[in-house]
């Protein structure tokens, strides 16, 4: 019982701690802004005009500010990759949190959608109240031009209104294209709509220009609720000579000033960081790679070995390939199966040919006549298509070496990160913390094991030679039994 609690804390505790921290920050921000607007002296008149809609809309706006700034941070992949490698995150538990970066991004995105709905609803109520409770005494406070102005006209003729409508439309497009089904089948729709985020952020920073909501600047000289010089309070009829009444008299008229736009303070930091990261990745990937070898393996897998200047990678990382000859804008991730070392500078990926991009890429690399293996000396290279490589990016498979016992389970072509791990063990296994590796690989057909049969045999042979036969425990399974009979 104690052991299962301890292991739960080690495995899940960090994630849940971050979740609670994030929820706490959102709640605190919401409540603080709500209370500022409902009890603050400078918002007294505005609150009287608009009511609860004011507080809810402003509170949800501050939560939206926080989430719009946080949502960009997990997407800075190069930054996260370098964080994984440095000693700043030396604890294994903290590095495990980086595996959940996409989940955090999704959580912030969903929070943005939910609070946008709340914000828009509250502001629609505000607009109706601006129109219905037009105040002649305080003309500066009004957003409507006259009593009973059509709320839809108010929305369409003010900057916050129009930018708000555009923001909702963009958010609607982004949200509906992000479902799991669309990402699985039509990834391009998701990618191109999600790249509208830059338009979203630019419009967001302009959203508050125009100053629809104003606060009172002279609260000390005009305490809210004070009496005008020619006005008497209903309770104090006949008691105007009482002492202490003087404070209830206004010394001057209330003055209002629109808010200074605050969103840019929240959002510009992460936005600049993300844009810098995208620019860095673009520069880093602008050097084309040289394709050295292309090998066709059974079960529709091809292996591509490449060379790139100043390319360093660790086992378990993945790269993103872009081939303009196939498609200019598509980027596809593949896990590295061999990393560059001091002796050998080439690195390689294994890719399964499923889908149009890989099929077209294979056609460009290999002729259709079923040539098994093409290794040409560099001088005589056939004209391979230009290929750009972005990366390497970190993944959780890098952590295999940091535990004493590791269990790696792979299905089909999912074996690629572990193939890189096995290659690294082949070069030297003594320097890692890893003491035993259980490797389970399930494939559909028997031919698939030929992808890495030499690697497995070589590693097995080496470990037996060096008197560590128990280091690698290999279990291979086949799932389709028809051909075996």
């Amino acid at each position: 019982m104690v052991l299962s609690f301890k292991s739960w804390v080690a495995n899940e505790g960090g994630k849940h701690f971050v979740l609670i921290l994030w929820l706490g920050a959102n709640t605190w921000l919401f409540l603080r802004t709500f209370l500022t607007y409902s009890t603050g002296q400078q918002y007294y008149y505005l609150y009287k005009m608009l009511g609860l809609g004011l507080c809810i809309s402003r509170a949800s706006a501050s939560v939206l500010n926080l989430n719009c700034s946080l949502v960009l941070l997990p997407m800075c992949r190069s930054l996260l990759t370098s964080l994984r490698g440095t000693h700043t995150l030396s604890s294994r538990g903290t590095r495990r949190l980086l595996d959940k970066s996409k989940t955090f991004h999704v959580a912030c995105g969903i929070a943005i959608c939910i609070f946008s709905v709340v914000h828009v609803s509250a502001h629609l109520v505000n607009v109706v109240n601006f129109s219905a409770f037009y105040c002649e005494d305080l003309p500066a406070l009004n957003l409507a031009r006259y009593l009973g102005e059509d709320p839809r006209m108010i929305i369409l003729t003010t900057v916050p209104g129009i930018t708000g409508v555009l923001l909702v439309v963009i958010l609607f497009l982004m949200f509906t294209a992000s479902s799991y089904c669309i990402r699985l089948s039509n990834y391009e729709i998701f990618w191109y709509t999600h790249n509208l985020f830059i338009v979203f952020y630019i419009i967001l920073m302009v959203h508050m220009v125009g100053g629809a909501l104003k606060y009172q600047t002279n609260v000390d000289t005009h305490p809210p609720g004070c009496l005008r010089p020619n006005q008497s309070s209903p309770e104090l009829q006949g008691k105007e000579l009482e002492p202490g009444n003087e404070e209830r008299r206004c010394k001057e008229e209330a003055r209002f000033h629109p808010h200074y736009p605050q969103t840019w303070m929240w959002v510009s930091g992460p936005l600049c960081l993300y844009c810098a990261e995208r620019f860095y990745r673009y520069i880093r990937s602008s050097d084309p790679v040289t394709i050295v070898t292309v090998i066709r393996h059974p079960s529709e897998v091809i292996e591509v070995r490449m060379l790139k200047r100043d390319f360093k990678a660790h086992p378990g990382q993945y790269i993103v390939l872009n081939c303009p000859g196939v498609s200019s804008f598509e980027n596809h991730p593949f896990t590295l199966t061999t990393c560059p070392t001091e002796e050998k500078e080439t690195f390689g990926v294994h890719m399964r040919v499923v889908g149009d991009w890989t099929e077209r890429f294979t056609e460009l690399l290999l002729p259709k006549t079923g040539v098994e293996l093409e290794i040409l000396p560099m001088v005589q290279q056939r004209r391979y298509p230009k290929l750009y490589v972005d990366g390497p990016f970190g993944s959780s498979s890098q952590e295999v070496f940091n535990y004493e016992v590791s269990l790696c389970v792979a299905g089909g072509i999912g074996v690629t990160p572990f193939a890189c791990v096995l290659h690294a063990l082949l070069d030297g296994w003594k320097q890692f913390r890893l003491r035993r590796l259980y490797f389970v690989w399930v494939c559909r057909e028997l031919q698939s094991f030929y992808w890495f049969s030499e690697l497995l045999c070589a590693l097995h042979h080496k470990l037996w030679q060096e008197n560590r036969p128990d280091y690698l425990n290999l279990k291979l399974f086949v799932s389709q039994t028809e051909d075996l009979q």
Binding site: R152, V169, C181, V326, S327, W464, Q485
Partner: protein, 187 residues
């Protein structure tokens, strides 16, 4: 590159727009704002759009993922035949439903979102897409061959005994070198 199926995206948008219409309609009726009749219409329209759009269509290639419990909706929607199969009709229906919702403030957003979904459906229809229902798979699994029930009668073929014995002069040909001599039994 590749065939993008726009109808799937339009389906997600229309479902979300139906929910937005429903929410806006409920708010409009609950507050009895000016023009609350339009809000009542929006509730009915939202429910209709959600029911129409809930069953997902079949993908042209690859496996289609159903929404939970969509089979009964699929049967109802399929019963209308070409009215629901053709995306031109759907685009027109959505555009027609969206227009009255634009007259009230609470349902204006639903109108805009449904209008966008209708445009994407129009695009899908121009590209020739159609709604195919996802029917449950009726094929039975291939029966396992009879021979699996009987143990093999003969031992598996083996090379002759000379080849199986390890030869001292050909240590490279042997599978591996045992550092400790093993006894003659095989595991």
């Amino acid at each position: 590159m590749g065939k993008i199926e726009w109808a799937m995206w339009a389906n997600e948008q229309a479902l979300a727009a139906g929910l937005i219409l429903l929410t806006g309609g409920i708010v409009g009726v609950a507050g009895l704002f000016r023009g609350w009749e339009f809000a009542a219409y929006a509730i009915a329209a939202g429910v209709f759009v959600c029911l129409l759009e809930y069953p997902r269509g079949k993908k042209n290639k690859g496996t289609s993922v159903e929404r939970t419990g969509q089979y009964c909706f699929t049967v109802c929607v399929k019963a209308f035949g070409p009215l629901t199969r053709n995306y031109y009709v759907r685009a027109f229906i959505h555009a027609a439903i969206a227009v009255p919702a634009g007259f009230m403030l609470a349902t204006v957003l639903g109108c805009v979102c449904l209008g966008i979904a209708s445009l994407i459906y129009l695009g899908a229809a121009i590209r020739g897409e159609q709604w195919e229902p996802i029917m449950p798979r009726t094929e039975t699994r291939k029966a396992v061959g009879e021979s699996i029930k009987q143990p093999p009668q003969n031992p598996p073929p083996r090379p002759p005994a000379e080849m199986r014995r390890k030869r001292a002069e050909d240590l490279e040909g042997a599978a591996y070198d045992n550092p400790i001599k093993v006894s003659d039994y095989e595991e």
